[in-house]
Symmetry: D2
Subunit: 331 residues, 4 copies
């Protein structure tokens, strides 16, 4: 039984709290949040104690911490928790600054503790089935990977301002999917973007519509499309063109209902957003974390991969600003 402390009792923290509670091999024992009432409410629901972070990290009965605090605290908390001998699952991104993230990686690796990054999409059953099929050689060798990721609606501009920009905040998920599927990291990236959805996003120095092309050392290519708005819901698709065929993961829809009438055939749209689409993925993510920690096997999405994805995001940000193709720094 893994004793777990949750740092951060916001929306995503509450999602993880459910997974911890639902898993027969883990137990939520402590919750910390800078906003005391949030910690209190979640702790009560979960039958856990409200504790401060120092107390959590020095408590030898706590085996693991799940970091779901604001991004600017991630690196510090990862380092501290790993140094305290805890297994760590931290939400993405590791940091908004690549050098800081790399330093965190070095320190954490020195601790020898397992540190996993919350790249939830890898655990989506559909994407996992796609990877299984691809790895089995069903379409031969990948030549062109395409990832579509459109949110239903943009977040508040206040969030945009501290988000690190679309590549670090949103596309980082797709950059991880790319390295996970392609089994390699890109050597160069070219990125483009515009503020078309909301001029306020442009005024905040960010874009809401973005395209990135990733170049691999062996010539393979990957195209990622991002938008902060899709009027029809959360659009999450992957397709891989390989030497023997095309592999696609289509959206999950609200139902299997369709209606044919004089205006056409109307079927259900994709489920609304990530909570609807990835709830099962969060549960599986947690289960795989618990399995890895308990069995001493590597975690399925390492801190190194989290830093590697950030390195591509940083290069993409630079590419968009300069109009140049940018080399991806090694991690």
């Amino acid at each position: 039984m893994l004793s777990v402390a949750l740092l951060g009792a916001g929306r995503i923290g509450r999602v993880h709290a459910k997974s911890i509670a639902a898993h027969s091999g883990s137990r939520l024992v402590a919750v910390a949040d800078v906003h005391a009432p949030a910690a209190q409410e979640l702790a009560e629901q979960a039958g856990a104690a409200v504790r401060d972070i120092d107390a959590i990290l020095t408590d030898p009965t706590i085996d693991a911490v799940l970091i779901a605090t604001s991004t600017d605290t991630h690196s510090d908390l990862i380092e501290a928790a790993a140094a305290a001998g805890k297994a760590v699952l931290c939400e993405k991104p590791v940091d908004l600054d690549l050098a800081r993230a790399q330093a965190c990686l070095t320190k954490s690796q020195a601790s020898g503790q397992p540190v996993m990054v919350g790249f939830n999409r890898r655990f989506d059953p559909n994407f996992a089935a796609l990877k299984t099929s691809y790895d089995a050689g069903d379409i031969g060798v990948a030549e062109l990977l395409s990832i579509t990721s459109f949110d239903p609606a943009p977040p508040p501009v206040e969030y945009i301002k501290v988000s690190g920009g679309i590549f670090r905040d949103m596309m980082i998920h797709d950059l991880d999917i790319a390295q996970w599927l392609m089994g390699a990291r890109p050597v160069k990236v070219t990125a483009h973007g515009s503020a078309l959805v909301d001029p306020a996003i442009g005024a905040a120095g960010d874009v809401d519509t973005a395209v990135a092309t990733l170049h691999y050392a062996d010539g393979r290519l990957c195209v990622i499309r991002n938008s902060r708005r899709a009027a029809y819901g959360y659009d999450q698709r992957i397709e891989i063109l390989g030497s023997k065929g095309l592999l696609q993961a289509d959206n999950v829809t609200e139902s299997t209902i369709s209606r044919a009438g004089s205006e056409g055939v109307i079927s259900a749209k994709p489920v609304y957003f990530f909570l609807e689409r990835y709830m099962r993925a969060y549960e599986i993510e947690w289960a795989q974390f618990v399995d890895a920690v308990q069995s001493g096997t590597p975690v399925p999405a390492t801190l190194e991969e989290g830093v590697a994805a950030l390195a591509v995001a940083e290069a993409a940000t630079q590419s968009m600003k300069t109009g140049q193709t940018v080399d991806v720094p090694s991690v």
Copy 2:
């Protein structure tokens, strides 16, 4: 080069005239119609002569006649044309009266001339692909065949009154598809129907919504669903449940366009009616008739099959009226 005379210059006659003209192995030389202006107009377009039926049948240079006149003339014209040594393609149904159709079959077979019935759906490329797959054993042995055939809108009640009823007029196509796919004729039929679309159809003694279940000697079953109205267009689907799987032919749609928005995903509806759906089938039907006549091989939809389908339609009509399962008479 097959010299062809067309009897009947109405809507379906004009469809066939196009196929005759488009085929490099046939030539339309004569047109007859009780309505002289219709014959005149079509003959002019086709570069053919307007002639009366007697003249056509006694002209030794005419090889084949295509009968597209009103149903009540079919048996007489088939007999006369076959007796005159012409190859015959006649529109369905052979007759509204089974005994009359059987007599026509006996006489026509005595003539030795090829007589084909215009069961156009057999020549639809999708249905033909379904049959090829089934015959190749892709789903093992058929256990339950299901045929859906919904028209977009009912014909005028005046037409209903002389149509012979839904089973002889409309379901006869599905009854032919069933014998074609199952490779056998049913031994019993149970049929049901209601006038739900238009009370005037009920007042005319017919139904507009009908279901028939066909029973084969070896226990296999077939369900046919008919409606005179589908607000979304012409619904023409087939599915076969076999021991190894399910084979389906879905509708042909107006386009491959879809639009996702806040109200759902809207895609194209089925093409409107038989002219849109089966135009290619009419061309292939004609080509196969020409091939069979010129090569001396059997025509692909024989008069005997036309009479057999009519026998099932007659039994279905009787079943609906009596509420009993009815034996299908042999042909």
Copy 3:
């Protein structure tokens, strides 16, 4: 908090135990089963006590019983539990004998206790969405309802022998869906069947492939297709042809993955069987039972509806045997 006792610790009992445990408003306190080790195992998992049925029914702290025992005990247990003042959720069918089921209904109604029948499909989110759309008038008035229900593989013949036959055992679900969607009970039924999947099923006096046509007083029709085998999984589809269009509920598939290659485009098949397809439906079913009992509102699938479905199943059985259309007895 509803205190619940579970009668029957077999496969479906264990499914319900999970729903009871997962619901915040209910608690499983007792388990009974004629097979003591099964009761023991489930009780331990659930933190409940093993008790015999008499003890359960006389315990005033138990609010509700869920009956998941063998069919031949359903009527007796419903009567006893209702008489003991318990709310009841009983698996389908109510009984294999209509007269016995009707007697059970009379006694249970006299008790005033809520008695719900486990028609789980009503609670499937897709079918519920279909009903919502239909009830909203999206396709006008229903004219022809079609229900497809194919199991992936037949049960053991030993089960078939005590099942009451395909109409009472399997089609009863579809008969309930029909009354639920059509808002009416059929006045007549015609049914047909064959043993095509397994001759041993025929030798046991049952069929494995069946078709039934239901006739409503206002002329509407319903066609139900059943097979005990579908090589591609559990095929559960509904379509309603209405005056303004067609409403369809398609299957739930194993994933959203497809693969295009030289042999075609391969996509996922339907999920394997009822546990995969209807797990969520069982949870919702239980939640609606708890809601109804706690709020004193009618349960969503009443014992009367269970008996009404059985009446149609019995008429269908008779129809198949006699080849006649059979009147459905009123309940």
Copy 4:
């Protein structure tokens, strides 16, 4: 009746000859080809004369010429035909050299003759339906256009060597679709490519897998994906993400048949290549050319648009070579 001469009797010339013959308003009167037997064979089939180009251009009874010769002759023939007072339909691309194409444009415009470029995809009924829906405002304003164009198999390397490279030869179609749908020309382009399908293509200095991102003055983006190989056939898809939704044109498939079995659900793949997919588009293209010439209205795909698409292709070629985003020269 438009009297037409066909220059070039190769594969695409024969496709156009059929369209000319099938159209009631045009007549093929002359055929020229450097390979005399090809000209002879096609002329005989079409009932036209074999003539040399000079004779054709000086014959005042010839109204229009269709240029389907090798690319290196296009500019010269367009200029000569326009100067001779003929209406012109010329296959794409206008030229492999942008300056030469611009000179051709200047001269041709001076002639006042209608000159159309054979961008056949605009006339595909599905793409036309997509444009109609987009222009009607169904998805609001376009933000991100995505075009997928994968050939089933690469052409011979000998062809690749004289093709002008993938952007001028293959992507030029997609560049035209982009300007047609977006109603604007891009200001910048970034392009990438690799030789992954066949090393011989790389050795010939070309790529077989390419991605281009187009940048519009108002910030809108377009992504084009090209591959010379798709094991499943000709993949021709378009999607537009707009402020109110997503508009998609999916592939045309070989049939509507699907087969569900233990291995999944297998449906038909896309039709094999451009002759199968775009035969109807070629007919409509020709009909619209005839209409425009006869009515004196502008042709639907002008020489200027052909040169504009070439300008983007040239910028894309340069971008791929330099790794820079490149400004698109104005035309």
